[in-house]
């Protein structure tokens, strides 16, 4: 019983980490209709940025997250403005190709710049845990979970309540009408992509604090984010949290009850089920 409770806690906390990783991907996908295959590579860059902030400048990885987010936002803005805006209205295949290419370029540039050495962001408290009876709650994961919830809710409010957020949604829903109301789509696209990449940066910093960083972590993370976005649905940031937690729980339980090689089988199995039964995601609007 203790074991099951512990596994459930593990799964939920893992889900929080998954959610923050997928949040940016889902936003960009939902608003810009770009499936950003380089999302994982940006998570990797964010992780390195946090690593340098921590190891070289001595900035605590959690306190450094806003810096990482802002720098990654700028990078994302520039990439959208200078590259993706040229193809954003083209066929989806073009954006897939470009973002895939971007993933390859970023990954190999990262190896040139950072070498293939493994790194971890390892402040003294990173491995601390909070005992809770027979159950143990890893502190860093709990903090990451908290940040995931916080950012998701902030994102939800931003999209629903602020002028900029409404403009972003309006552009996604009806480009012509949005233009008539004075929205500059190129700028808005870049802001949206920037936010997506900023979120990827935050996810990277958190990932480096609980896991390990090397230039090649991107591709698998993209696949995971993709699954979460599909499971949760693209309509609302809350769907991403649900998708992340569902995936985290399913993986953890599959490893416990079926076997440790079945984590991915289970998660992608769920992906297929969701695509068949609820194509717009667990929290998506059925059409």
């Amino acid at each position: 019983m203790d074991l099951l409770a512990q596994i459930l806690i593990n799964g939920i906390l893992l889900g929080g980490l998954y959610a923050i990783m997928a949040l940016g991907l889902a936003l960009v996908w939902g608003v810009l209709n770009i499936v950003n295959l380089s999302h994982g590579a940006f998570i990797m860059l964010g992780a390195y940025l946090s690593w340098y902030l921590y190891s070289w400048a001595g900035i605590d990885p959690f306190l450094g997250l806003p810096i990482t987010a802002v720098l990654m936002f700028c990078l994302g803005y520039a990439v959208q403005r200078g590259l993706l805006n040229f193809v954003v209205r083209g066929p989806m295949f073009n954006t897939l190709l470009i973002t895939f290419g971007l993933e390859v370029v970023l990954t190999y540039l990262a190896q040139l710049a950072f070498s293939a050495d493994f790194r971890t962001i390892n402040p003294s408290y990173a491995g601390n845990s909070i005992p809770f009876g027979p159950i143990v709650i890893p502190q860093a994961r709990l903090m990451a979970f908290g940040i995931a919830i916080l950012l998701t809710v902030a994102m939800w409010i931003f999209l629903l309540r602020t002028r900029l957020g409404r403009a972003i949604r309006a552009t996604a829903q009806n480009l012509v009408a949005a233009r008539l109301y004075g929205v500059d789509p190129r700028h808005l696209y870049a802001v949206t992509f920037g936010i997506g990449i900023g979120l990827a940066g935050v996810a990277g910093g958190l990932y480096g604090t609980v896991s390990q960083i090397n230039p090649y972590i991107g591709a698998t993370l993209t696949a995971k984010c993709f699954a979460i976005a599909i499971i949760g649905g693209l309509d609302s940031p809350l769907g991403v949290i649900v998708g992340g937690i569902v995936l985290g729980l399913i993986e953890s339980l599959a490893i416990l009850y079926v076997g440790a090689t079945f984590g991915d089988v289970a998660s992608f199995g769920v992906l297929v089920l969701v695509l068949i039964l609820r194509p717009s995601g667990l929290l998506g609007k059925t059409t």
Binding site: D2, L3, Q6, I7, N10, L14, G82, L83, F86, V105, Y108, L109, Q111, L112, A116, D117, F118, R119, T120, N122, A126, G127, N128, S129, P131, V136, P138, Q139, A140, R141, V210, S211, Q212, N214, Y216, T220, E251, S252, I255, L256, G259, A260, T261, G263, D264
Partner: protein, 402 residues
């Protein structure tokens, strides 16, 4: 936009050029290899490229290889297989069929050596590889594959020996392993070793290669109370395993890992959390290992560190020994005829920086594994063929008591 595209492609072209190394003159003896210089195994792959280059350079400095009264230099042709097995098979095919290299050096990792040795066998060009330890590679009666890593099945041999003598000896063991050729071989061998030693196995679990989340497995270890945990996996997995063990406060009496502990960057990445972790190595940079070209293993390690900026581990020593084995075998055979050199390799028996090079009937070398442990950030050899060397720090204290 266009200028961006040009600068990217320029950069890629530069990278491609940089990889075409060491121009060979017509008379050189060319050793070909396909190594993981990029991709997920690049971190260990670099040991092989650096070791091959270093050994070739050193042998050439000493005049090269003596063939029929004439001194001939060695040359290298290395491709980057991007950590892709299929690409590495194609590159080995290209090395023998188009580049016409004389002999083959190996890639890193068992699954690569397993696939690539089919090429050396088909074309009957000897391959000496120092990166694949799986017993599978040598169980197919291939005649042209030789390996300088000790058999995977016995990686935990000395560790299990040590476990029996610990005070108090662990009452239960958990065995975790990744689902690739090397780690499955390790697990098959270890299972038998544990049975023979009469140690009780409470968990025997295979996991997916590249898994990043070990929380479920660690929670099970905590729940079943395994006192010794043996993990056969890859460095990234083991980094995650140790970090997550700490964050879940899982502290068995000891844990040991097939890889990681001997590598400098593994210990750097974990910092103080690497302490108490056990591993094994068939090679330590000891001055007892005399070498014709490098003096001894200690001098090799110093010169290597100076040249490449990081400490060599057994992968690097094994790679350097492969080049030396070819140099020695070519001299013994008195020429570069592949079949004659193959027979000379099979008969080799010489001392190297890596230890005594002498291959068994199946083509694999047998070296005892020394158990090592990280103690206060340093690798200490704790148990070898003759028993305890330095006292192991046992049992591992709880994480909050360190």
């Amino acid at each position: 936009m266009p200028s961006k595209a040009i600068s990217f492609s320029g950069l890629l072209a530069g990278v491609a050029l940089a990889l075409a190394i060491t121009p060979a003159s017509a008379k050189d003896i060319v050793l070909g290899a396909s190594v993981q210089l990029t991709g997920s195994s690049a971190n260990t792959g670099r040991y092989y490229k650096d070791a091959y280059e270093f050994a070739v350079e050193k042998i050439n400095e000493a005049g090269g290889v003596k063939v029929g009264g004439e001194q001939v230099k060695l040359a290298l042709k290395i491709y980057d297989n991007q950590s892709d097995v299929n690409l590495s098979v194609r590159q080995y095919t290209q090395l023998v069929s188009q580049d016409k290299v004389d002999f083959l050096l190996g890639p890193f990792a068992s699954n690569f050596a397993l696939a690539d040795s089919a090429i050396s066998e088909k074309y009957q060009i000897p391959m000496i590889q120092g990166g694949g330890a799986s017993d599978q590679i040598f169980s197919r009666n291939f005649k042209y594959i030789f390996g300088t890593l000790a058999p995977a099945s016995n990686y935990f041999g000395s560790t299990v020996e040590m476990l029996k003598g610990l005070d108090p000896a662990p009452q239960s063991v958990a065995l975790l392993y990744a689902d690739d050729a090397f780690d499955v071989s390790v697990a098959d061998g270890t299972r038998k070793l544990l049975d023979d030693a009469g140690l009780k196995t409470v968990m025997d679990e295979k996991y997916s290669s590249n898994a990043s989340d070990f929380n479920s497995l660690l929670s099970q270890i905590k729940s079943n109370g395994a006192e010794a945990v043996l993990v056969a996996g890859h460095e990234t997995e083991i980094l995650n395993f140790v970090r997550q063990a700490k964050s879940l406060a899982v502290a068995p009496k000891m844990y040991s890992f097939t890889v990681g502990v001997p590598s400098e960057d593994f210990r750097k990445a974990l910092g103080a959390d690497a302490d108490y972790a056990y591993g094994m190595t068939a090679w330590l940079p000891s001055a007892d290992n005399k070498d014709k070209w490098f003096g001894d293993a200690a001098q090799f390690a110093d010169a290597y560190k100076k040249k490449f900026g990081y400490d060599p581990d057994y992968h690097a020593a094994s790679g350097a020994a492969d080049v030396e084995a070819f140099a020695q075998a070519i001299e013994d055979a008195g020429g570069t005829d592949p079949a004659k050199v193959r027979d000379a390799i099979a008969k080799l028996s010489f001392d190297s920086l890596y230890g005594k090079i002498a291959f068994a009937e199946n083509g694999q070398i047998d070296l005892p594994q020394t158990v090592i442990q990280v103690q206060d950030g340093k690798v200490v050899d704790v148990y070898g063929a003759n028993g305890v060397i330095n006292k192991p720090k046992y049992p591992m204290p709880a994480w909050n008591a360190r």
